[in-house]
């Protein structure tokens, strides 16, 4: 019957759409992103907070920092170990992690995240603290 052809065509189109990730990648291996640390970051051993925390929550910390600097004019952050940092993306974070392309962008691109930090930072001259 004519309907049967139409149904089978529709079914094939549906399967092609649903199984898109399988044929799009065609079985090739995709290596996970490898983040490169600068010498300075390696020497420091630990970031502002623990590595696991920073890996999943760094955006929240940056948000709090921005809030604190912009709204409350408080620029000094003290971590639980009592170490003090100047709250600044350009001067503190990117001082150690000066290799944005090999550090920030690696994971952001892999996870398809486009943070709006870079709308203002990185290409601009360093802030005067």
């Amino acid at each position: 019957m004519n309907d049967k052809k139409l149904i089978v065509t529709g079914l094939v189109i549906f399967l092609i759409i649903v199984l898109f990730p399988f044929w799009y990648n065609r079985g090739r291996a995709v290596p996970p992103p490898e983040v490169k640390l600068t010498e300075q970051a390696k020497a420091a051993k630990e970031c502002v907070l623990s590595k696991d925390y920073m890996r999943s929550e760094h955006m929240q910390l940056l948000d709090l920092w921005r809030e604190s600097v912009v709204r409350e004019a408080d620029r000094i952050y003290t971590n639980p170990k009592g170490k003090q940092f100047v709250m600044s993306l350009s001067n503190t974070c990117l001082d150690c992690h000066s290799n944005k392309a090999d550090f920030c962008d690696k994971c952001h691109n892999y996870a398809s995240v486009r943070p709006y930090c870079w709308d203002c930072h990185i290409d601009n001259p360093k802030e005067n603290s």
């Binding site: 649903v18 990648n25 996970p32």
Partner: protein
């Protein structure tokens, strides 16, 4: 307390416990690789079998629902898309039904007001259904970022549009809004809660609701809830999660360490939904295309619908009957179409 939704709730909660317990005893491979593969396999084969089964079933009668005036005299206005007469009108009707749920929009509620019967437009089911389906579609399309590398530009565009509103709540104790809030996720959760509450609260709807209605709603609630939790609250290592999903679609399965249990619970819920899909009411995804009340032409006055079940029936027409019994009929004084002499002359001439 209604047994039907309690059973569904307990089932979903049980699934949650299974995934949670399984991951705590180290069955990451089972919940991260084996079950998702099986689920996709069951989904694809089950879906195809179901639709092919439907394609084999006959449509004995033309049973389109007519929602308006059928094609008639030129001076009577024809409701083209409610009573389609041509293939084009039919395609428009189907597209409107599938994309905008037009038949839900027609929903009316009977009401007695001041002793008079009136019909009111009852729009909330349509709004809820539309919000739910489109939010779910957006969420699914957005998830292709976990299954493609590099991520296609159209998916990135969708993400940008979806995170258009920048909702950020910042208190030292409570923060929300980073990473960027996807509206579709929140709309999906709100819509699924509304659709579930509708079935629980409105008595007439509760009466016709079954466990097979509540179970998918609660399961989708679980999926949306765990997804939102792991994006905004108890964050997981997203790159490890993508490593796992990429491993699945490239047939190089890996289970990286350090993904939270909530990810496996989310994945298990999705796997259950996929495996359950072809055997449930969720098959309305394919069924909406194949329902004869929608996809048939309402042109029964101008064309004859032939039942495909019809087989050549052996018939004995009246002419043949009279030919056989004419003499006896004349003897008995019964009226005949052709008198005896006329038929004899006709036979002689031949």
């Amino acid at each position: 307390m209604n047994k039907k939704y309690m059973v569904s709730f307990i089932a979903v909660f049980g699934l949650f416990l299974i995934a949670w317990a399984g991951v705590s005893i180290g069955l990451q491979w089972v919940f991260g690789v084996i079950i998702p593969y099986l689920a996709v396999l069951v989904f694809a084969t089950g879906f195809v079998r179901r639709v092919l089964g439907w394609s084999r079933s006959a449509v004995p009668f033309a049973i389109p629902t007519t929602g308006g005036q059928a094609k008639s005299f030129p001076w009577i206005r024809h409701a083209r898309f409610d009573c389609p007469d041509s293939r084009f009108d039919l395609w428009v009707r189907m597209a409107l039904e599938i994309l905008t749920f037009r038949s839900l929009f027609r929903n009316t509620r009977m009401k007695l007001s001041g002793g008079k019967l009136s019909y009111q437009l009852e729009i909330f089911l349509w709004v809820g259904a539309l919000a739910f389906h489109y939010a779910f579609l957006t969420v699914i399309l957005r998830h292709t970022r976990f299954f493609t590398e590099p991520v296609p530009w159209c998916v990135q565009l969708l993400e940008n549009v979806d995170s258009f509103f920048r909702l950020e709540i910042i208190y030292p104790q409570f923060q929300f809004g980073l990473p960027a809030v996807y509206l579709s996720g929140i709309v999906l959760l709100a819509a699924v809660v509304y659709l579930a509450l509708r079935r629980i609260v409105i008595p007439s709807v509760r009466y016709i609701s079954l466990a097979s209605d509540f179970f998918p709603l609660l399961l989708i609630f679980g999926i949306a809830f765990t997804g939102i939790m792991m994006r905004y609250v108890t964050k997981i290592d997203i790159n490890a999660a993508k490593q796992l999903t990429m491993g699945l679609v490239t047939f190089h399965p890996t289970v990286p360490a350090g993904i939270g249990a909530i990810f496996y619970i989310h994945l298990f819920f999705v796997s259950v939904l996929l495996a359950y899909f072809p055997y449930s009411k969720l098959m309305h995804l394919a069924g909406v295309f194949l329902s004869p009340t929608r996809n048939m032409l309402a042109s029964t006055r101008s064309y004859r619908h032939v039942n495909p079940w019809n087989y050549p029936v052996k018939v004995h027409t009246y002419e043949e009957y009279e030919e056989e019994f004419r003499e006896k009929m004349v003897e008995a004084g019964l009226p005949v179409d052709k008198p005896l002499e006329a038929s004899a002359e006709a036979a002689e001439k031949e």
